[in-house]
Every structure is written in structure tokens, then in C-alpha cells.
Assembly symmetry: C3
Homo-oligomer: 358 residues x 3
């Protein structure tokens, strides 16, 4: 999106990554630190001014022969691969590469301006250096922090707050009274703060329970395209700091998502579920309502979690796929597992009886 | 969304709920009917002007010690819990609470106006007392009933109809010729009336089948954020009265959803499926196309319904989750169930043969 | 959407379909070729100027007694059904019907115009005969081909390209630098080109990996409402010619979808997956990242594909649904399959031992 490239020498880049990581990512250059690096590229297509990285020894051959200007990898992998290219040795090559890619591709600076076609209520407050594009609507009493981008067609509701340095991509919506922390990234079509799904049965009909809470989002949260996070019924739905949420995710009312948890695409989380910190929910995983998942739980894609998890670990529950004919035969037997066990028990009992015979 | 609070005494509230429920929800106050109630709140955080409720005896301790001004609960639970707070005894406390919450938090009255940045075709017809916000577009021949709210960035297509008292939240879209009944609530990002997914194969390509029908939605229907309901191919997709649909639901062309059915988030319903009345589809349930589900069916979250259901009841079909290592071992055996049964049969046969021996 | 009906005789229609199919769909009229056909309709509701079709002999009775002006069906089915109506005999009745429906319901011609409320950057280029509706935003350096419709509230980002004859329905978004081929149809709420979901762990936090690639979409692609297709990290996400994608589908960064593949609603495809040509992914199927699926693979709805598929064929993996009580009993046993097999083995071993006895 109009990113500017900022070439620099490999040695400069190593220093810049170390600064960006606050000293946590020191690295050593093997080869020519004066090599000019302008961009990042995959091993197989990288050229002499590109930086690439090796995450997995499966790709060792490609790494050995890459035409990249430099390759980031671990010292151990370096010994195995011995790439012809310059190398950056680092204990965490993926994180190093991520920061280097950020440095080489800085987000384009916002040109602060409010477009002609943006509709901002006079009672809204906008920080300095914001950019608001055409078709965006900001309602009364909304507060948008400094240095924010409110893209085309975005919506910031009455009384909502958007933290400093946040970026709402075209078509993102933050509804009334919801709160986004600093440096939020919200992608297009996301809806933050729609009504939770709450109805009480009465004489064959459903009575709507007013959804009176908010969505409160911490700092450094990213929310994917067309993801929905509902406001709380009473009390709030809470997304803690550093949570990363992919596209098409549904988070229901009164959930709490712990800090630095990542949620892949198409996940659904039902009402009042509490997810711990540093969890990883695989794509299309489903979480029942009113359960608690402790910190450091990993859930496989497509798995339905139907009760609380109190032990950190890796959980799965997916029917294995197979050729359809084979599936038809095996799936039919899933309906008869109890009967199979019963037959097995009877055989075991006969055996036991037989062995008692003289 | 700018809700006004409307405090009243507990006795007044009891009378107001009974009126709202047309006499179906009579209740008795134990304690001080003159107690002022201003808001609803959960048992644990409620204060002296808050109304709370007890739905489940799991929370009996919290209910016993709540600082709420009043608690709604059943007479039986009252005898068990004996809360210190004032109590409202009622046979259906959840429904009573829902109506009380509505009365205490009335939707803010619309200020009828058409925003400067709204684009309404001169050939569209708008009822009285409507509010149309900036960025909304209403096309020619569309009819919007009285007292409707068409939020920012909404779209009402050519020839579409929106019933009296409906609320389209920011970014909801009702496409050409589709019909919403009275008091519809459509949340942001919902798309009512996109083309159904219909293609015929021809020589290795797909020929589009024009999608000529409409979506017809009854009265008192709520449709969640980013939900999609496709128009019929020939004939219409029909959502009957009182249906409640959560976020991220997909309803394909030519489906019919029976009155007062509720559909939780992330459900997918394939083309021409017919769902009965008063059904409940759990989150991420999937319904095959061209099947029929009778009235009063409950489907567990995550369950795929692959053929018609003719008996009311509760249906499930989800692989149980477990620690990943355990899952890997068990899931591998699912592929061999037929073989297991075969081995069991052979053992049984040997047994039978052995027992025939003299 | 304001489609015009274009009545013609049955004989004319047969000729027009043959032309449209470039000679691939010849058909024979049995009965009155002069019969006027104005519309398509289902067998059961069709009237004397309607064309209907028989796809499945299940509906033979309806076909026999239909009041349609003409019925399309295969010669073999004609012999079985002997409908009273005029008949069009054709080897591929479904494709024939699809083209006939297109001819009878041509998309309304665009009235080329740029609405007052559309915001087009002076640096964008628009082909001739385009229609841009209110609330649409087209950014600098975007190129929109000839004869395109950019609906209300659509967004075409900086440097994006939209091919000739494409139709972006209200609220569709094509982000910066992405490319749509000719005759694309993109439905409302679709987001083409949001950031892929890429983060590297560093000291308990997640570092964003800049998403620098694009989405490249071939010709004749249809993309459903609220579907999301993410841009590549490095390199592009590619959707080849003729792919048809339903609503609420999520396609992650760096995927490649082969030509003429169809993807039903709610499917999720994780990063860097490569799907072959002419595949069919059923609704809510899930595809793991970094795997390859060869050409001509069909995946059942709801199936999770967790590793590469190298053989064309039909694959499934769904837990069968059953009454909840029955499911609870059987699902519990799924957790003990290994134990069941172990018990079976022990029995088999005893048997073998017993038989060795004299």
C-alpha cells in the first residue's frame, strides 16, 4: 500500500534490527556486511539486493543455491547448509527476518488530511496528524487518537475511542462506545461492537435481551477482515493486549481473550468463553460458550472445544479424511461403536468362563 | 447506542413487564416494591439500584450475597437461595429479566433526518420519521417504511422494501427487490440478496445460472453482522417471522427458514434446505442442500446434517477433542474401524465353532 | 437487478443457445418451436411462457404434468417422462438451461455515469462506459477497465486493476495493487487483498511480518459476498481463470487456486495451500496450509484436509450425526478406540494360543 523501500547495507540492517528488538535479537554477519539490501524475497526468487531466510531444513537445497544478497538462518543450519550467499546468523531467524522486513518496508507515512467525502460529527475529537478518507463516518463524542488512519468507508460510532497510531482499513467499523487501544490494525469489513446474540424464550417467541456492554480492545491488537466481535450483554467483551485475530473470526458477547493469543481464520468463539494468554487457536476451531481455556493452550484447526481446559497443551479432535468410499464404510461404524464394544465384552466374558473350566 | 436510562420503582417495573408481556409474565415482589431500579447488572457487580437475575443454581452463593437492589428468580430457587436483596419471583425469570432490561434501556428515539451525505434516489419512497445517515445509499423504487433507521454506509437496492420500524445498522445491505418485514434488525456487514452460487458445467468451464429470485424476510427478524443470505435462483429464499440469525451465518439460495428458529454464529446452510419452525442450530453447524429438517429440531454446534430429519429432537455429530497425541492414535483407528469389526467377527465365528465342538 | 425480459420463440432460443455455446450445445425441439418463451421457472410453478428443466428423474411426475411452455431434458429422460409440454432434447440439459436463462434474463445494460457521491482520485484511470455509484472510492493509480460497474460503497485501492466488463457489487473492496481479470463478479462485502496473517514470536509477543504481495485474480472469476482473499507475504496469492468462489470463504496469503475450481460457502484455505484445477470444495471444507491438492479433487462439505492429495478423487471426513444421546455414547468410545483394539488383540492372541494346545 504505497510502501517505500529503504535500502541499506547488511551491517546497518543488523544494527537496526537489534535496536528495534531492544537488544533481544543480536546477529552475526558471515560474508560482506557492506552488501546493499533493498527488499525481502523468498529463497527461490531472491536476487542480489534481496534478503531471504531459511526456516526449515526441508529447503536447505534452495538455501544453498539461492541468489539472495543475504540469508538469515540459525548458526546450526548455517553449518549444515553453507549457503553461498552472505549470511545473518541469529538464534531466532524468523523474528529477525520479520523485523528486517518491517525496516525495509516501513508503512508509508500518513499524509494528514480529512477527505472531502468524510463525514465527521462536530462533536467528535480527532488527534493530530490523522488521515480520514472519503466515505468514512465519525459520530459525535467519538475520540480518535493521534496519527490514526481512518480508511474509506470506515465507521467510528458515537462515543467510541480509537487509540493513537491505529489504522482502520477501508470498511472497518467500530461501533458506539467501543474502545480500541494504541496501534490497533483493523482490516476491512470487521465489525467491532455489534449486538451479542441474546434472546429469552417466551410463549414460542424470542425476547431480545438488550446488549448494553462494550468491546474493549487492548494495545497492539490486529483484527482481520470481516471478523466480528460482539459487545457484551452486561459488562464488556475484552480483547487483551497483543492479541492477533485473523479474518472471518466470530467472537461472541462477554468473551475475554488473553494477551498475545493468536486466533486463525474462521474460528468461532461462543458467548462468555474465557481464553487464556498466549493461546493459539487453529483455523475454524470452535469454542463453546461459558467455558475457560487456560494459558498456553494450542487447539488444532477444525477442533470443537466443548468443555474447559485446565492444562496447557496441544488439543485436537478432527475426523480424519479419506477416500469417500472408505469414509462411508468407517463412518457408518462410528454409529455402532457401542455395539462393537458390547460384542467384545461378550467374547471376553466367554473367554474368562472358558478358562475357568477344568 | 445512546440508550437512555429510565429508572422506576420495582413495583412499577413489575407492572410494566406484565403489560409488555401481555399478561404472560406475572411476578411477585418479595421485599420493598418501592426500591428504585435504574439498570440491569450481573449478580457479582450489581449495586443497590440494579436489577439482576439468577438463571442457574450454580450461582446461588453469588445470588445470596449480591448487593443488587433486586434479583429475579423462580419461587423454588428463592426458597433455596433466600437472597438478602429484594426479589422478583417469576416462573420464567430469564424472559422477565429480558423485558425488564428492555424497559430500563429503551432504544433511543430516532431523530428523524436525512444526513447530508446520504444518497437517496428521487424515485425511492421513505416513510415518515426515518433517519438516514451519511454514506447510506437508497436506490430507485426502494420503499423504506415509517420509523426506520438506515445507518451510515447502508445500502437499500432498487425495488427493495424495508418494513416499518426496521433498523439497519451501519454497513448493512439489502439488495435489489429483496423484502424485509416490520421491525427487522440487520447488523453491519450483512448482505441480503447476493447472487446464489449456481453454475452448470460445460466443457470444463462453469456457466452462471442467473439468480432471479429474491430474499423475503418476515417480521421481527434479526440478522447478525456479516451474515449473508442469497437470493433464490428461481423463486425466493424465505426467512419466516421471528427468526433470529447470529453473525457470520451463510444461508444459500432457495432456503426456507421456519418461524422462530434461531441460528447461532458461523452456521452454513446450503441451497434449497428447508428448516422447520422453532429449530435451534448451534454455532458452526452445517446443513446440506436440498434436505428438510422438521420443526423443533436442535442441532449441536459443529454438527453437519447430511440428510433430512423427520423427528423433533436433539442431534449431534462432533469428533470429541483430546490431547493431540491421544487424538493421533485414536483418529488413525477411525480409518480402520471396518477392519476391527472384521477381526471381531472372525473371533466370534471361531467361538461359535468351538462351542459346537463336542 | 432490473433485469429485462427478452421473450422469443423456442426455436429462436435453441439457436441462440447454440451460438452462445459456440456450437457445443445442439438441441432438438419436440413440439411447437413457435411457442413464445419469456422466462424460466421451476417445473411446479411454470406457466405457458416459461421454460423449465428436468435434472433428476425423481421429479419425473412433476415434469410429466408441468404447465411450462417447454421443458429441457435429455433424450433418455424424454422417453421415460413423455411430458405434455414442448420439449428441448439436449445432452446437457443443465448447461443448456443455464445459457437459456442468461439469454432470457440479460444483465441490464450499464448506464455509464459517475454518481455525484462517488470519490475518484484524479490519478485513477477509468475505461469507457463505466458506471460508478454513490459512496464508491477509487484511489490514485487505480485502473478500471471498460464497461465496469463499481457499485455503491465499493473500494478500489491505489494501483489496483479491475479488468474490462467486471462488476463490483455494492460494498466489494479490491485493495491496493491487487489485480482482477476481465469479467470478474465480486459480491458485496468481499475483501480482496487484506494483509495475510503472519507473525513471528519474539519474547512472548508477536512481530508482524509485512505483507508485501498482491492478489492476482484471472478472468471470469466470481467471488461471493463477504469472502476474503489475503495478499501474499512475499509473492502473490493467485486465483486462476474461471474459479468460482461462494460467500464467506477465506483464502489466506500465498494460496494458488487452479483454474475452474469451485469453492462452496464457508470454506477456509490456510496459507500457501495450492489447489489444483477443476477441484470442488464442499461447503465449510477446511484446507491446511502449505499442502498441495492435485487437479480434479472433490472434497466433501465439512471435511478438513490435513495433508497433500496426489490422486484425483472424492475425499470425505465428517463425523456422522445422530440423536444426541446416541452420539454421547459413541463419541465417548472414540476416545478409547486404541484400548478397544488392544483388547481385541489380546483375545486374538489367546485364541491363537488355545488353538496350539493339543
Amino acid at each position: 500500500m504505497g510502501e517505500r523501500r529503504a535500502g541499506r547495507t547488511l551491517a546497518d540492517l543488523v544494527a537496526a534490527v537489534e535496536r528495534a528488538a531492544a537488544g533481544q535479537l543480536s546477529a552475526t554477519v558471515v560474508g560482506d556486511g557492506g552488501c546493499l539490501i533493498e527488499a525481502v524475497a523468498p529463497l527461490e526468487s531472491a536476487g542480489p539486493t534481496d534478503l531471504s531466510f531459511l526456516a526449515n531444513l526441508r529447503y536447505r537445497r534452495t538455501a544453498a543455491s539461492t541468489r539472495a544478497g543475504a540469508v538469515v538462518l540459525s548458526a546450526a543450519d548455517y553449518e549444515t547448509v553453507k549457503p553461498a550467499a552472505n549470511a545473518v546468523l541469529c538464534a531466532q531467524p524468523y523474528a529477525w527476518f520479520a523485523l528486517a522486513a518491517q525496516i525495509l518496508n516501513p508503512a508509508s507515512p500518513l499524509e494528514p488530511q480529512v477527505a472531502d467525502g468524510a463525514w465527521i460529527d462536530p462533536g467528535a475529537r480527532l488527534g493530530h496528524n490523522c488521515r480520514v478518507d472519503a466515505g468514512a463516518v465519525i459520530e459525535a463524542d467519538a475520540q480518535v487518537g493521534a496519527g490514526c488512519w481512518i480508511g474509506a468507508g470506515c465507521y467510528v460510532g458515537r462515543g467510541a475511542r480509537v487509540g493513537d497510531g491505529s489504522r482502520l482499513h477501508p470498511g472497518a467499523r467500530v461501533l458506539a462506545d467501543c474502545v480500541l487501544g494504541a496501534r490497533a490494525i483493523v482490516h476491512g469489513g470487521a465489525v467491532i461492537g455489534a449486538d451479542g446474540f441474546g434472546f429469552a424464550p417466551l410463549a414460542g417467541r424470542w425476547v431480545k435481551i438488550p446488549q448494553l456492554g462494550r468491546v474493549i480492545v487492548g494495545d497492539d491488537v490486529e483484527i482481520g477482515a470481516n471478523t466480528t466481535i460482539d459487545r457484551g450483554t452486561m459488562g464488556d467483551t475484552v480483547i487483551e493486549d497483543g492479541v492477533k485475530i485473523d479474518n472471518q473470526v466470530q467472537i461472541a458477547h462477554n468473551c475475554r481473550i488473553g494477551a498475545h493469543t493468536v486466533i486463525a481464520g474462521c474460528v468461532g468463539i461462543a458467548g462468555s468463553a474465557v481464553i487464556g494468554r498466549r493461546c493459539q487457536l487453529g483455523g475454524a476451531a470452535m469454542i463453546h460458550g461459558h467455558i475457560t481455556i487456560c494459558d498456553d493452550v494450542i487447539v488444532s484447526g477444525g477442533t470443537l472445544i466443548s468443555r474447559s481446559i485446565n492444562e496447557p497443551g496441544f488439543y485436537s479432535g478432527v475426523f480424519p479424511f479419506m477416500p469417500n468410499r472408505e469414509w462411508e464404510r468407517n463412518a457408518a461404524l462410528v454409529r455402532h461403536l457401542r455395539e462393537l464394544r458390547e460384542r467384545l465384552r461378550r467374547l471376553e466374558a466367554r473367554h474368562a468362563r472358558d478358562e475357568e473350566k477344568p
